[in-house]
Amino acid sequence: MKVLVAVKRVIDYNVKVRVKADNTDVDLTNVKMAINPFCEIAVEEAVRLKEQGVASEIVVVSMGPKECQEQIRTALALGADRGIQVQTDEKLDSLAVAKLLKAVYEQEKPDLIILGKQAIDSDNNQTGQMLAALAGLPQGTFASEVKVEEGKANVTREVDGGLQTVALNLPAVVTTDLRLNEPRYASLPNIMKAKRKPLDVKTPEDLGVTITSTISLLKVEPPAERQAGIKVGSVDELVEKLKNEAKVI
């Protein structure tokens, strides 16, 4: 079975992003970039499926400028077999990414496609669902467990009220939630080996996709700051403040 994994290059999750003074966007100059944490979980899941003998090949794909090859290399060091970068410097909304992924899906014909549930920059939570719709595939979003057997994927999903399990015919799209697994660290020898793994570069034109968007970003502002609060010295003082000052209890 072949597994396709989509990884996105995003700001490192530890960095607190700042808004540019002219309010056109956030400032990403000299900011540490990394593989989106949910995509790391997606790669790990694919590697585990390969270790279990369920998957035979793992292809990892990323769309964006040349720098996203770094995140493809990270995925290769974690155990993916080969990479595809779709080279574009244009701003990509989730629908455009989904269209590119659909084209890659048609070329590669994987049985399972694993994505993160959301990119921690846009916080969109859209791409996997859009890809599934465009390709006419079933989806198991926000997955905390994936079992592949007899041509089906049984996916346990983290939903608002608890957990839900669905059975999906393969090929299928899965998006990862935090509890699906705990990603491993790449070892130094694997990082070295990853440098020699194949990495193809394609363009949107190669894939027959025109990048468009129906969304324009008008401005980006910092959120409203909270007023600095106070420290209370005791539980009694806390109760007094909550009752008489804040009047919330």
């Binding site: 992003v17 969109n124 970003l217 502002e221 600095a228 804040a246």
Partner: protein, 309 residues
């Protein structure tokens, strides 16, 4: 043109999340229709017909919609919704599962998790874990949007007198099947709707220790939430996670106990009206957003607080 709101429900009753979506719809236009897709969901349609500002309720009652499977619901919503100016749903796990599919079927971008409506085509939404607020304009012929419930005041659940119309089902994709679910049972208020939320983090130490938070919550009539660390460690179930990638809450009072205040956690609770933090580390970042901070051992402070409220 009219706005279509996708109702959130469990086939028996309408989820209050839908009332906030109708509020957002009112800010974008004035003729609001609600689509109820479900199985044996007649009572939900009756309820939706009474919601303030709703002029029409469309019901599609079919076994294919019993569990809100995205493969089936999305084709119906795209079919019914294509003549509308906007299609809105709550940014719940159900809405997030279905709406991007609807957008893709209609070949338009989706706008996730809006917190403000500036005009019929311009919306505000948080990005980067709420560290920035983007204002975006959509040129899509149909604007497909999910709504953050805590950012809008629910419209009244009653007072409306909408007509109810049946619409034909769009069929079963037969690519996915519902196998089962494990839903959390609780007598406490629902996390995203509660007026008071008490949340515990890694500092709670283990699942049994959450009992002291449950006692406090019961005294206050509060819901109980958690940080990711507490969920990952297995102290409590996943549906209690508050944060960037969990639930968004904005109660009158939020009490963070043994939670350090990582940006991903703050993204889910910093719109709360009053924030209280109880943490033994006076340097913990949670104190930077807390109205009232108490530097103390939670195992002493929380039982004492329970005794005094």
């Amino acid at each position: 043109m009219s706005i279509l709101v996708l109702a959130e429900h469990n086939n028996a009753s309408l989820n209050a999340a839908t009332l906030a979506v109708v509020a957002a719809a009112k800010a974008a236009g004035d003729d609001i229709h609600v689509l109820v897709a479900g199985s044996g969901c007649g009572a939900v349609a009756e309820e939706a017909a009474q919601v303030e500002s709703v002029s029409k309720v469309l019901v599609s009652d079919d076994p294919a919609y019993a569990h809100q499977l995205a493969e089936n619901i999305s084709t119906l919503v795209a079919e019914v919704g294509k003549g509308y100016s906007h299609i809105l749903a709550a940014a719940t796990t159900t809405g997030k599962n279905v709406m991007p599919r609807v957008a893709a079927l209609l070949d338009v971008d989706q706008i996730s998790d809006i917190v403000g409506v500036d005009s019929a085509d311009t919306f505000r939404r948080p990005i980067y874990a709420g560290n920035a607020i983007a204002t975006v304009q959509s040129s899509a012929p149909v604007k497909v949007i999910t709504v953050r419930g805590t950012a809008f005041d629910n419209v009244a659940a009653t007072g409306g007198t909408a007509a109810v119309e049946q619409v034909a089902a769009a069929g079963d994709a037969e690519t996915s099947a519902f196998i089962g679910e494990e839903m959390a049972e609780s007598d406490r208020p629902e996390l995203t709707a509660a007026g008071i939320v008490v949340s515990g983090g890694r500092g709670m130490g283990n699942g049994e220790n959450f009992e002291i938070l449950y006692s406090l919550a019961d005294k206050l009539g509060a819901a109980v939430g958690a940080s990711r660390a507490a969920v990952d460690a297995g102290f409590v179930p996943n549906d209690m996670q508050v944060g960037q990638t969990g639930k968004i809450v904005a109660p009158e009072l939020y009490v963070a106990v043994g939670i350090s205040g990582a940006i991903q956690h703050l993204a889910g609770m910093k719109e709360s009206k009053i924030i209280v933090a109880i943490n033994k580390d006076e340097e913990a970042p949670i104190f930077q957003v807390a109205d009232y901070g108490l530097v103390a051992d939670l195992f002493e402070a929380v039982p004492e607080l329970t005794g005094k409220v």
